[in-house]
Subunit: 353 residues, 2 copies
Amino acid sequence: MQDIILSAPSFKSVIHCGAGAFEKYAPLIGDNAFVITDSNVSALYGDLISSTFGAAPVFVIPAGERSKNYKILIKIFEKMTECGMTRKCTVVALGGGVVGDIAGLAASLYMRGVKIVQIPTTLLSQVDSSVGGKTAIDFNGVKNVIGTFYQPSEVIVDPLFLKTLPAREIRCGLGEIIKYGALDGGIYNTLIKNQDGLFDLAFLESVTADCIRHKAKVVSEDEKDLSGARKTLNLGHTTGHAFELYYKRKSHGEFVLIGTYYELYIAQKSGVCEKSYADSLRALIKKVTNKIPAYADAEQAAQAAKYDKKNERQTSVSIVAPAKIGRSEEIILPLDKYAQLIAECARALAEEK
Amino acid sequence: MQDIILSAPSFKSVIHCGAGAFEKYAPLIGDNAFVITDSNVSALYGDLISSTFGAAPVFVIPAGERSKNYKILIKIFEKMTECGMTRKCTVVALGGGVVGDIAGLAASLYMRGVKIVQIPTTLLSQVDSSVGGKTAIDFNGVKNVIGTFYQPSEVIVDPLFLKTLPAREIRCGLGEIIKYGALDGGIYNTLIKNQDGLFDLAFLESVTADCIRHKAKVVSEDEKDLSGARKTLNLGHTTGHAFELYYKRKSHGEFVLIGTYYELYIAQKSGVCEKSYADSLRALIKKVTNKIPAYADAEQAAQAAKYDKKNERQTSVSIVAPAKIGRSEEIILPLDKYAQLIAECARALAEEK
């Protein structure tokens, strides 16, 4: 077990990582907890929740991305006020990214901010979304358009919860882990060394801490996504989000994998990334999933990148491209050019098959 | 005209104070404005809004405290997303405290925070609520229970808008001004010197800047209401809020006046405040309103103080009492004792009549 400190300008978070972290730290949260979880986690870990948090109110949201909406947020506030939660309460987010995002937003708004402890239960949320203080709900068809920056006081990252995760959820988490591999030379080397055991739980526990350490460093430099450091974490996400918006299928982590794969094509074509390095990242991606879709309408789908809230330009698109080991570069392209390159990549993929 | 700088840990606000501030600074806000105002301001200043902000979208909320609810907030977000507002937009809050609070909250949440410029149009909001970055809506019967701390980039305080204010609204603002008089020796002396011209617009313009300067200093020391400095701004508010909750009539500023009057009784009875100073503050209050109600059910009404979100104790009540010129003291009382003293004050008031 190890503690990683995230010293953001607004607040210091402590991230407890490793087996046993839940058992050690969750019971210390105390009497004033208000637990938010989802229907999947509640079904699997109901007994653990009641033995750990005793009589604390538990609010269960339906599992799935669709719960990240304002109606659920309002229901959380209703329960919090009805239970008479005071400024001294602590919201506990026990679940994946959806639970973490909406519970974080609720905590940041209730009485202008109460404590929040994140206890991520999916690999994706452990490795990425539970750390860094971004909270959000989706609204009017726009992803994460309503939210805050609000650091959790603690994050408890315990592999205990990974044991019950379906393989697909592990793949999703590996999508973000490979993103960190493309940003951080140390993580890249670890991934290459363990490329035949990426799904191994002990390996995942240790690489998760590496990814969190990388993210904590970036967020402490650029908490509010202003200076560009935090923008690097968007690697694979421009295209991933565009596909996510257009195809409305699969989940975030898988789209990050697919997005990274497609963006590698652009990185190579633009001369930003050498073939051998791009090949090795593609090989890693294929260790996680051997189904990178050769979308027939990729060009149209890529146009959806203009709806991303990070895209302020409307007529051009920015991607964070892997350049060499431990280095990425921003590439800004006219939207049409970007969409053409995405379509080229799709045709190349179709020919491979 | 003068600029006052509020250097909060999270952000630096500039407050432009004085006649001509609107004409000088509002047109500089630029193309990306999203104006939020209310039906009263829109009726009085519709032409000024369109000549100043051109084609910017204008969202008009119904005038009145009841608009501080989540349904209006959601409608604001609908309009913002429909108008395609980006991260670079600036929300303009043109109105009183209700507009400022809800627009501030909307700006703090949209895309995790866009710029906000506060242009307060009532004396109460000029002197107090537009400065300091507290944003909120009411929810489930609890005042300001959902909100954020989010500093405006600029506040434009122009007496221009006071000319159309009803006398009652001026009284409300004077309620907060007298509160600042009880906290700040300089403001106290100014008020005493001008006690026969409190409603004079030139006087109000100058004392408003004094109050803002006091508030800016307090907020820069204790932005998030943690260390106690900001708590002093609650003078008169514990009892004011309790009466506001119980009687559901009058408006915030008037209740602050009434609350300060009642709390002066407690301050004197507790030996915190000398009679002569308490008398001079009471005399000031009576220059603003000669109707301090002698509530028959004051004891019951005072019990409502336990529902204040600032009250974490449930069985006791904290008030910020005037002690001597430029000094206040916190008094913590058991709820019952507090309610008895409030009732005593009401009986004393009834006998005076």
